[in-house]
Symmetry: D2
Subunit: 333 residues, 4 copies
């Protein structure tokens, strides 16, 4: 088998981006699509020229010509399809957050332990070359012992009204930085305190500020603002600073990287995560799928995107959200 035949389950805006990415990965074949909505299913099948279409993922999983699935359903609807796909012997690419509760993560982990296929959770930032280079430097001891971290991941208000009715900025976005911080420190979060601000009266608050204490003593702040004003030049204002005893590192994945001023506005379009060129997505998302395909085809368990790590990141952000609700520090076992 030289190409992995993959089906995408869940065809919202990000499921479509998965498809646009998969078609550019040489050893992946976009072989099946699945969503409950018939119109959307037809439209996507036509767009990507895919003949196998399913409204029920169980049918897709029953198809022996499908080797792998990418699960891009709502974050609180990950567990059932993930467990079923693993049980069906498929390789599974599961979007982040891994699930919406820690017990759900444990169910998925249990299924993965018995599965033939591999399981990779899509913590895409680990495929951003800046963070990956940072991790490499940290492992070499370049900055010594990590003592302090801070991150920002702020996005325009215009993007979020729909999302904010499904998920909040801490579990939705600070989970990226939480995962990176856990990766960089090789440590675990022992307590968290967080504050949110409800600006627009949507289901979840628009702003989260989170603080962590790590077991080894390091401290961290994480900023996630999902209501950046209209004229923000930063499509994502994404920064992280990691301070060690011997050195530090700083990542800024936004302007001045690339700034485009048009007759209407100033933007810093994404060139890191899933930039589109000629209808195909590149960037970290392509790297992630290439890595997934490589692991699946060679039978190697992924070392990046491990479900155990994804569960820890979820646990910390859920604790942060609890802190924001209760106003108290939340300690983790």
């Amino acid at each position: 088998m030289e190409r992995l035949r993959i089906g995408v389950i869940g065809l919202g805006w990000f499921g479509e981006i998965h498809c646009e990415t998969i078609v550019g990965v040489p050893n992946l074949e976009l072989a099946a699509l699945c969503t409950r909505t018939p119109e959307r299913l037809d439209a996507m099948a036509a767009k990507f020229g895919v003949s196998k279409t399913y409204r029920d993922y169980h049918d897709l999983l029953a198809d022996p010509e499908i080797d792998a699935v990418s699960i891009v359903t709502m974050w609180d609807q990950h567990t059932e399809p993930a467990v079923a796909a693993l049980a069906a012997g498929k390789h599974v690419f599961l979007e982040k957050p891994m699930a919406s509760t820690v017990p759900d993560c444990e169910s998925i982990l249990a299924a993965a332990a018995k599965a033939e296929g591999i399981l990779l959770v899509g913590h895409i930032c680990r495929f951003n070359p800046r963070y990956r280079m940072a991790k490499q430097a940290i492992e070499k001891g370049t900055i010594g012992r990590i003592v302090s971290l801070s991150s920002r991941r702020n996005i325009p208000a215009a993007w979020t009204p729909e999302i904010l009715n499904k998920i909040g900025p801490i579990v939705g976005d600070a989970i990226h930085d939480t995962d990176l911080m856990l990766w960089f420190t090789g440590d675990r979060v022992v307590s968290t305190y967080a504050q949110t601000v409800d600006v627009r009266g949507l289901k979840h608050p628009d702003i989260g500020q989170t603080m962590y204490r790590f077991a080894g003593g390091a401290t961290a702040t994480l900023e996630t603002v999902w209501c950046m004003p209209e004229h923000t030049p930063f499509d994502i204002d994404e920064r992280m600073t990691v301070i060690g005893t011997e050195g530090f590192l700083h990542i800024q994945d936004t302007f001045p990287n690339l700034g485009i001023v048009s007759a209407d506005a100033f933007h810093s379009p994404d060139t890191t995560y899933w930039p589109e060129f000629d209808g195909v997505r590149g960037g970290a998302l392509r790297e992630e799928f290439t890595y997934f395909a490589h692991c699946a085809l060679t039978g190697a368990q992924p070392q990046i995107g491990r479900p155990e790590d994804a569960m820890r990141a979820l646990e910390a952000t859920l604790a942060a959200e609890e802190s924001a609700r209760t106003g108290e520090v939340v300690r983790l076992a």
Copy 2:
């Protein structure tokens, strides 16, 4: 009276910088110096050509030819000289933090209420033109209602071992950003949570991360790292972002403003606060003394550097330090 005759009480490194600044302000005359250490007193008198020298500030205050004093003693030794100077009818420029306890601030405020002279607390950042322009924009409504703030004020490890035996980074430096945030929001802090990290085993921890909740609902994080590794290019890594409902503002008072790479290192020297040109200090410190002299000569109460504001900033940072010590959220009345 066209020039204000001023004496400096306290001649440590920053007292000397006060002197180097005062000599460049047209309507100030550096007329007297005071410190307990005779050698230092002689050296400074010679350097600045000042003939009136005192080892006891009471003697300086008794001199009718002195109109004003600048108090640059240790932060926990501000109260007595400030109260005495106000009682003696002098105009008083008092360095920040205003004092080391809220009751001490109240004593100074009480003395100021009865005094003939003016009292200005040296919250120098308000004279940084970037923050001042920001305040002006906020007052015009440019960014709408403030919902989220974050700041960083990190300095090299080499600067701090001596300071850290006297004061910690939250009261010592986050007080600047606390004061600015109170100024920008026009609000008060209702609760705080903070974490510190002790890196080098000095009297105070090297790192502070602070979170505030404001009465109006805004949230804030403040980062102060006093142990930035040796090769940091930022002499001060100073940034603030203030996010409102209509817009936001971002201040970065470090590289790439000015970066100087020498044969040995990369530096971003201060050009904002007290840059030295031909032996005289300019920048915000000169602006502050010019404003002080102007107020004193015209009899106007300062609107920038008000002691009531300085007390509120101190109160919030002391509460943050208490939170860091206890591990609990501290609520302010």
Copy 3:
């Protein structure tokens, strides 16, 4: 004499800014105003509370109660008032460019040589603390021998239609960087090649790119674009890099210093040159006037803003404009 009584000749937009600055300098008194337009004269007299008003500068120069003048007439109308003011024994602050021809500069220099008063040409960038700190570092040998320089000074199209009917971007703006490069290198320009682009069909082309060769071998490029598109976030996009054999320095006097996003646009307002706070101008322009007043009151010849230097800067930019017109390299004697 403790305050210098100064009159402003020329009350266009920048003459008004001179006035707004002078009123904030302790040892200057804004004592007289002069312009040919009666309505403007009345309006400015009312705004600044100045009782001495003149429509002919000869009358102002005849007034023995005026110690100094600031000349802010059109750049090609500098020579006569400057020579007359020097002949009348006034101290002279002359805006840049010094004049519109080298022979005119020589006339002014000859008048200055015989004058009692001082003459300072307003090359304001030398009072920008970033450039001044850079000069100090260069003089200490921090970067070794200078081998390469480059600069940018770009401004929004909306500012320039009127100016471009009077002066072009090379003589109008690259003269700042030319003066700084001459200051930094301590050298002279031996040849220049320049290209312009006429974008809007105004009297002068909107864009100039200039290259210099210095006598000591260093090379330089200077970019001046006076038609930056509407949504540029940079009110002035101002940068300079100076590369030496041992080190280099980089100055960036624009965003991210201060960025303000409003409901309408993103701006980086000036906080360096003449920021306005409470109706009074600060920044480098105030520093420049303070220095001018100090020199005039103490009788010291200015070491910054020397007319000889200003003439060399003009000479180089006029040669660059000639090159742009002819398409050939222009060599200087």
Copy 4:
């Protein structure tokens, strides 16, 4: 044929990087190696586990099991192997500069016109996602008509002593920006003026500053300094600004993207062009090889990296070098 079997001709430092990249491209197989030096050949064969090794490229070209070659010989030794490889029916990936003279480029173009295989010239910057996104925006008309461009591509002195004995910074590096400017404008260079500075007395001067005039009237400056002082934080200081009538775009592919401060120094390592992760190279070089493999396997002529474009870029930089030698403007037919 699902994988393209490729041989690398020329195994200097960059030939090795080609190999480290090829091994990470799914549809490429690193199948042969060729260099004249036996020790190097053995070492590289061992490192990459390649069994087919050749000391004479003619032998490699005679091997029917090789589908494609990557030519990474010295820039002035490109023509013969490129022509021979095309004549032998191989697909050819040819490093930039395409050749060392325009007639040589024409020979290669003539060979390509008759060839079965495709020819791609490795102008890697076109695969940098920032430039590619910029090109896409320009094509959509986002910035209107281009009127002015400027670029910088400066590298540390420590990297260049050996290179500077083979090639100078204008043909060696400004060719990247020349190619990008030609791509962005869709125009051609009609004249050039350039200045170089010889700092270290190597075969080629260390510094080049180049100016272009495009047929449509746009103007450009290009800075290439190959002697950046030791403590430069920029491994590559790479920037470009493209100004149009309606908007502009700005690319900065260096710090603050990623900065790493260690105990010894401050660096901005490359994460764009050929970052190494676990011994395999990613970034733009992998994109370029993936694109090459895709075109070769599908039989499509590359639209990016076209030899006609590469010849035009070479022609302009050679003219700039001639201008630097003669001191005169060089006009292109």
